[in-house]
């Protein structure tokens, strides 16, 4: 039993809903009690879909439990088929129905409907949303494309010389973080390279499209959390290789182009020599000097967290001081990456643990989910959102992909805006004693203006730190520390305390403060 204030992921059947809602001509019948329909509003309110998710809920009540909940489920399947006439049906149970063990798969099969019925086993007390999406997509691909697979051992026929190489794009779902725009951007990239996009799935696909996935030469896996399992099965069954690079960031996009070009036997040079990304130049322009060594904390799903770390480190010149994910399935690759940045990976789905780590590390920028946005707001730290769980703000009206070269431009803007930039930072330091620039006056872009917010911002992090350190500050040293601009004061305090501990000093004087400054550099 786990005490949970906020959860990063929904239960696994919501992952299945993300697949069903992404597609057309597919219906999902869920054995579930009243109330589970709340999940509809994720799609209609957060993603602002203009249609209901294609999901029917059996809606059993307490008084049905002694009676025939199985009958209720069968009726729901039958009526859903008659009303919506889907080309395929997913059936499964939510957490409560899992406990009453009615076997939705068997019950639906017994109806002998004239369309494929795909049963889902999504253990709700063990697994979560992304796993549920991945498992659902895999089951769907296996059930619908399976009958088209060549006999085991048969070699894949070579591509005809006159035809362009083709691929599927796998992974985008409903309620995904910028999936809609990523698909557009990656499709454009592939077309410019000379690769034809055969099918995109699950987003916008019909069951009949899933059945034809095996016709493409290879697969592009946009979101491993959702599509890796299906891609591995397609590789085994159809001999289709799949891409391992997720094209988020300039470096990764270039690697992705090279990887795809190798799979498709094409020349990547023309596309790679193009100058259609502003991030590299913006990052080299002088104003960006101020990014150098900015301490950044990163947390999100594995794909976006890994990509963010690479961009932060290699493309913006930040310093990664923390890296973590709630995707336990991808803990290993995240741990490896973290080692490369010299930090310990944080693998957790406990929001309180993430909050404690941010307070302890005192980063200057947090790249996280909507949950980290709240942590950062409370601690007075700038934040940009890089990953699900999603919020209505994560479905902007404008085009704003994360992937490809345009995605890198979007990321540059999104991450830089919360920072105090360049000349602005200088001016703040120059005028810090000015009445309008007093410590409590927060830059308006941080969006905190109440007295309560100021109080929290200035006291919470340092208090949290001082509790953990065994050193005390002399009064005049504390006074001197206050002269350090507020936005680097936490860092100065931390460095000084660490320096004092390393030197075996129990008391921090003004001397210690400046010795520490000399020791650490800026």
């Amino acid at each position: 039993m786990q005490l949970t204030l906020w959860t990063y992921e929904a239960p696994p059947h919501v992952g299945a809903m993300r697949i069903a809602t992404a597609m057309n001509g597919l219906h999902y019948v869920l054995h579930a009690p009243q109330g589970d329909t709340y999940a509809d509003l994720l799609f209609t309110m957060i993603e602002r879909l203009d249609r209901r998710p294609p999901v029917t809920y059996s809606t059993f009540q307490a008084r049905d439990l002694g009676g025939d909940t199985a009958q209720l489920f069968q009726t729901a399947v039958k009526e859903a088929y008659e009303r919506f006439r889907p080309e395929a049906i997913l059936v499964g149970a939510s957490c409560t129905a899992e406990l009453i063990q009615d076997d939705p798969g068997g019950l639906a099969r017994a109806l002998a409907l004239p369309v494929p019925v795909i049963p889902l086993e999504l253990p709700a007390y063990q697994r979560k949303e992304n796993w549920g999406a991945s498992e659902t997509f895999y089951r769907l691909v296996r059930a619908l494309a399976g009958p088209q697979a060549p006999p085991p051992g048969e070699k894949r026929p070579g591509r005809k010389a006159a035809t362009a190489p083709s691929c599927n794009i796998l992974g985008p779902t409903a309620l995904g973080f910028r999936h809609r725009d990523d698909v557009f951007e990656v499709t454009r990239l592939l077309e410019r390279l000379g690769v034809e996009v055969h099918r995109v799935a699950p987003l916008g696909a019909r069951p009949g499209d899933i059945a034809r996935l095996g016709d493409a030469d290879f697969n592009v896996v946009l979101y491993p959390e959702v599509a890796e399992t299906a891609a591995r099965w397609l590789e085994r069954s159809f001999g289709q290789p799949w891409t391992k690079t997720v094209p988020i960031g300039v470096g990764a996009t270039r690697d992705f182009i090279a990887e795809v070009a190798a799979l498709a036997d094409l020349d990547p040079t023309p596309l790679l020599s193009g100058q259609d990304c502003r991030l590299p130049w913006y990052s080299r322009s002088v104003d960006s000097n101020y990014f150098t060594g900015k301490r950044v904390f990163i947390f999100g799903d594995a794909t976006h967290a890994l990509a963010a770390a690479r961009i932060a480190d290699q493309e913006l010149g930040f310093k990664v001081v923390g890296l973590g994910t709630y995707s336990r399935e991808f803990a290993r690759s995240l741990r490896e990456a973290a080692k490369g940045y010299g930090v310990e990976a944080l693998i957790t789905d406990d929001y309180l643990e993430v909050e404690a780590r941010v307070a302890e590390l005192q980063p200057e920028l947090v790249l996280g989910t909507q949950m980290e946005r709240h942590i950062a707001k409370r601690l007075g730290i700038g934040c940009a959102v890089i990953s699900s769980p999603v919020h209505v703000q994560d479905f902007p009206a404008r085009y704003s992909p994360q992937m490809g070269f345009e995605g890198a431009n979007v990321i540059f803007d999104t991450w830089v805006h919360p920072l105090v930039m360049g000349l602005e930072e200088h001016l703040l330091a120059m005028f810090r004693d000015d009445f309008e620039f007093h410590d409590g006056a927060i830059p308006s872009h941080l969006g905190v203006s109440t007295a309560e917010g100021d109080e929290r911002r200035t006291t919470l992090p340092s208090a949290a730190l001082s509790e953990t350190s065994a050193v005390t500050w002399e009064e005049d040293a504390e006074e001197e520390l206050r002269k350090v601009p507020f936005f680097v004061r936490g860092k100065a305090r931390r460095n000084t305390e660490r320096f004092a501990l390393d030197q075996g000093l129990a008391i921090i004087s003004i001397e210690t403060l400046y010795d520490a400054k000399a020791h650490f550099g800026r």
Partner: protein, 431 residues
């Protein structure tokens, strides 16, 4: 799945005299479960914490219903049952003790803890009343620990508040001997509304006056045979029954929505206290007048327009009464998850004859009826609102009616405006 055909037979219509027959349906229900009430109850009772014992679905539901996040650390959480817990019930109780202990150590300011049952905890028959009793012994007198069920298999949306308040009733102190009659207003209201009502009852000379739930747990109101109570919300069947078991008497009245509803609601108490007609008029006339003037702003937009209610909060009948009588709207169908005949008797009498009432839901059939009727305004939940808008139907999403102060004279204009806004917005948008 439905027990009635899609087209409403002519016999199933309100007759405007409390003798209404009703279209009862069974099928998919597009409603929240009772856990959702935690979103407003935790704001109301300021030293209470709500611990749902349930699944990740429960945690995700409350988080999503609460508009994703609240800035402060919330006073609600979920103890998520996992696989290991399902292996044996004895362990489950130990685990719950561990979670509660950790929680109360972290939050020393909590004085009242609700263990809230969910669908999974009900299905595995986890006895939360036993857990509450056991934990109360460990944490008394600092923390009072109670339990109720907000599960979807037993409660619909606002019934969660009913279950919560009903669990408080046995905890209420007995009223003092020979104290004379007192008035208890039952149902969570915004603080600002409570303060207005306190002034009105004070001016009428009705009192002593108490509210359930109180703002803080030590202020639990007394109850006993001399207690008369007014329901401020139409969804409090179990709470009313529990109060009656403690000897209290319900004052029958419509609900305090709109000028008329508020007046009749106040009058029920005034009559019980024998307040002279002239004094009642003197006290309520300014409020009635303000309410009518405020409502008039929306009258032009709403008058003569049709309205269709999907079942949601059980507020549907009083709202339909308000819209028809004070704004001349025409209710086509008034759907409610549950119609409490006794508590709604005064409301049903005021509905226009011929209004179709429906109880329970088969959402697909109801959508068919709604599309066929093409109402000017559809009142529905968040799952349906945008899809219906996309079909060209104007909607008012109903959860706002729970989160916004709408009761009393000085909120009557706001209430009318909530319904007028979607229509006004449509008029303004040209692109």
């Amino acid at each position: 799945m439905s027990e009635a055909p899609a087209g409403p037979p002519a016999g199933l219509r309100a007759k405007g005299c409390g003798e209404a027959t009703v279209l009862r349906e069974r099928g998919q229900r597009e409603v929240f479960c009772g856990l959702t009430g935690i979103v407003w109850l935790h704001r109301k009772i300021q030293d209470a914490f709500f611990l749902v014992v349930g699944s990740r679905t429960c945690a995700h539901l409350i988080q999503s219903a609460a508009g994703v996040m609240i800035f402060a650390e919330p006073r609600f959480a979920t103890a998520i049952i996992d696989e290991r817990d399902l292996a044996g019930l004895a362990d489950l109780h130990e685990e719950l003790d561990r979670v509660v202990t950790r929680l109360l150590e972290r939050r020393p300011e909590i004085r009242l803890l609700f263990l809230v049952g969910s669908c999974p905890s009900e299905v595995i028959k986890l006895d939360l009343s036993r857990a509450a009793a056991r934990l109360s012994e460990s944490f008394a007198p600092r923390v009072r620990i109670l339990n109720y069920s907000g599960s979807g298999i037993e409660t619909t949306f606002t019934q969660g508040e009913d279950a919560c308040l009903a669990s408080l009733v046995p905890e209420l102190p007995a009223e003092p001997q020979r104290s004379g009659p007192s008035l208890l207003v039952v149902g969570a209201l915004a603080d600002v509304v409570e303060d207005q009502l306190r002034r009105l009852f004070g001016d009428l000379g009705v009192g002593p006056l108490h509210f359930l739930p109180p703002r803080r747990s030590p202020e639990l109101p007394p109850v006993g045979p001399q207690t008369l109570f007014l329901l401020a919300q139409p969804f409090l069947a179990d709470t009313a029954r529990a109060l009656e078991e403690r000897g209290a008497t319900r004052l029958a009245a419509p609900f305090p929505l709109g000028a008329e509803g508020t007046t009749l609601w106040l009058k029920a108490a005034a009559d019980a206290w024998g307040v002279p007609r002239t004094r009642f008029h003197a006290v309520t006339a300014p409020g009635q007048d303000r309410a009518r003037r405020a409502i008039a702003h929306s009258a032009q937009q709403l008058s003569g327009k049709s309205v269709f209610f999907f079942p949601d909060s059980q507020l549907e009948v009083p709202l339909a009464r308000f819209l028809s009588r004070e704004l001349s709207m025409e209710p086509i169908e008034v759907g409610s998850p549950y119609l409490h005949r006794e508590h709604l008797a005064e409301e049903l009498r005021l509905l226009p004859p011929g209004t179709l009432l429906s109880e329970g839901q088969d959402v697909e059939r109801q959508l068919d009826r709604c599309r066929a009727a093409r109402p000017y305004l559809t009142v529905c939940g968040l799952g349906l609102a945008n899809p219906l808008e996309a079909e060209g139907l104007a909607t008012k999403w109903s959860i706002e009616l729970l989160f916004t102060p709408i009761q009393g004279y000085d909120q009557a204009g706001d209430l009318a405006e909530l319904f007028a806004r979607p229509l006004t917005r449509r008029d303004r948008l040209v692109a």
